[in-house]
């Protein structure tokens, strides 16, 4: 799917920015809203929501490396009931649409969570997270199998008419086959992709630096890997590709759009710059004016 990098839309809706906030670093957008930091944000993708509450992985959950960040948060969230009751009503105040990211430890859990979320008028759509590297059950293993992706997408499709994206894993399996499976299963987009499995060890003690040993690696340094994957996947599916991984500066966003992304998610950058979306959008507009006018 090729697109004009100057016009930004998703699921029939036009946006004045190509910048989405990736799942995990923006909560449900409410803290950033309270900070006044959602300017320039087209869509917020929420933290993962699961059927039951999850307290997340034991600390340490973060290790910064010379060139990036390993995280092992483990889908900490209050569970779908608390999200419905306590969070989504407040999300009505967001100045932009909210996509709810959904995770599950069984194939059926994704549709079960979406089914519950259907009771809210808030979600613009869903992001089905079949690629979390930080959980024992589900996670990467689901996304790596096209058959599983197909089954999960079909189950979700059965319970909602809202659009949804499937967030794929770069860690195992074939991204293109999983993307095709998502499309055939009824997904309306694919998110390419998630963090890369990584690990650090204290060589003096032999002990891993993260409690759960491995984590998901994010960094400006993974940008070329995302560009390659977005480029490949967007040429073999007809649904939009949402790029996620490594976008840090305005040119990164434009590059991912040129690679075929419909929209671009930023995550790790928001941890450092809560106003990242507005800063990126200003830069993007400047580049487009200078270059393409």
């Amino acid at each position: 799917m090729t697109s004009d990098i100057r016009s930004w839309s998703l699921w029939g809706r036009k946006f004045t920015s190509p910048v989405m906030l990736a799942s995990g670093t923006a909560g449900f957008g409410l803290e950033l809203l309270e900070r006044g930091s959602l300017a320039g944000t087209a869509i917020v993708v929420s933290k993962a929501t699961t059927l039951e509450p999850r307290e997340g992985n034991p600390p340490p959950r973060l290790v910064e490396t010379r060139f990036g960040l390993l995280n092992s948060v483990g889908l900490a969230n209050p569970g779908v009931d608390a999200v419905m009751e306590n969070i989504l009503p407040s999300a009505a105040m967001l100045p932009c649409p909210l996509i709810v990211n959904v995770a599950g430890k069984s194939e059926r859990e994704f549709a079960a969570v979406v089914d519950r979320l259907e009771g809210s008028s808030i979600p613009f759509g869903y992001e089905i997270n079949v690629s979390c590297p930080n959980v024992a059950a589900g996670g990467v293993a689901f996304g790596a199998s096209p058959e599983t992706v197909d089954r999960i997408a079909r189950m979700v499709r059965e319970v909602t008419d809202r659009p949804f994206s499937v967030k794929l894993t770069p860690n195992e399996g074939s991204l293109t086959e999983s993307a095709r499976a998502a499309e055939e299963g009824g997904a309306n987009a694919v998110t390419v992709s998630n963090t890369y499995l990584g690990m650090r060890i204290d060589w003096r003690t032999g002990k891993p630096l993260l409690h759960r040993s491995v984590g998901g690696y994010s960094s400006p340094a993974i940008l070329p890997m995302t560009v390659a994957r977005v480029f490949t996947v967007s040429s073999c599916v007809d649904i939009p590709v949402l790029a996620s991984g490594g976008a840090t500066c305005p040119e990164d966003i434009l590059e991912l759009l040129a690679a075929g992304a419909a929209m671009v998610q930023v995550g790790t950058r928001v941890m450092r710059r809560p106003d990242a979306a507005a800063e990126l959008l200003t830069g993007i507009k400047n580049f487009l004016e200078e270059t393409l006018s």
């Binding site: 995990g24 803290e31 997340g56 340490p60 973060l62 960040l69 941890m271 450092r272 809560p274």
Partner: protein, 259 residues
């Protein structure tokens, strides 16, 4: 809890002094009075470089305020981020986000302040806002003792190079407990845990600890800086803390690392 504190400001390094080997005191001019109401125990997130790395900021405890528009931090040059920060000359522009987090609850009555190593950063700021009766400072050696001028400080060093030869807990026997109604503790987790076990039971509910964790955003969204909670699950160091009632922490899980 939601906290929407602290704008992201461009500030200027006004002072950068190495006060102990590898330990820097840095003053930022904020060009405004954003920090005027900040509380002891709150922190700020320093963007060490405008370039891509490090990808996160460095959380540093507020050590004090200067005039209307300046804020001071003390940090040790230990990792890639703080080492870069230590080399910033006066006049450098940086971004700081803050003030962030929960500071000490400034209750009336006499206070005992207990610091371990660089955990003493910020205790001078706290002492200026409360009735400070005594300060206990412990460190590995004398060159790791932060100066706290004008305060009633007792010191202990593990190598005996200054004060009592031993640990900060060895100083607890010298405290005039009758005058103490509040306790503040800041230092490594093992030291804080040892202190909590040895202070009089009546003060446990009046003890506040300043915690530390690997931090991502610093404003409550990334869930990176979790601390084991006494009630089960986790607290966020950045928005539930960094200053937390000692009774709210599950010390066994935190100390053991078997969290």
């Amino acid at each position: 809890m939601m906290t929407a504190q602290g704008p992201d400001l461009e500030v200027t390094v006004l002072e950068n002094r190495e006060i102990l080997p590898g330990v820097h005191s840095m003053v930022f001019r904020t060009h405004g009075n954003v920090y005027a109401d900040s509380l002891p125990g709150q922190f700020l997130q320093v963007e060490v470089s405008p370039g891509p790395f490090p990808v996160t900021r460095r959380p540093l405890t507020i050590d004090g305020l200067h005039g209307d528009d300046c804020v001071r931090v003390v940090f040790e040059s230990v990792g890639s981020g703080t080492s870069m920060l230590a080399f910033k000359p006066v006049g450098t522009s940086l971004r700081i986000l803050g003030p962030l987090g929960r500071g000490y609850e400034l209750r009336p009555g006499g206070w005992l302040l207990i610091g371990g190593g660089l955990g003493a950063a910020g205790l001078g700021f706290l002492a200026s806002r409360i009735d400070c009766r005594s300060v206990l400072l412990g460190a590995a050696t004398s060159s790791r003792l932060l100066p706290l001028p004008g305060l009633p400080v007792l010191t202990a060093t593990e190598d005996g190079s200054r004060g009592t030869h031993g640990l900060v807990t060895d100083l607890l026997g010298s405290v005039e407990w009758t005058a103490i109604e509040n306790v503040a503790v800041c230092g490594p987790v093992g030291m804080m845990d040892a202190v909590i076990r040895q202070i009089p039971e009546r003060l446990l509910g009046m003890t506040q600890v300043s915690t530390e964790a690997r931090m991502g955003c610093g404003y409550g969204v990334c869930e990176g800086c979790s601390l084991p909670a006494a009630a089960g699950g986790y607290l966020k160091c950045c928005t539930d803390g960094p200053v937390i009632p000692a009774a709210d922490i599950d010390w066994e899980r935190w100390r053991g690392g078997n969290t």
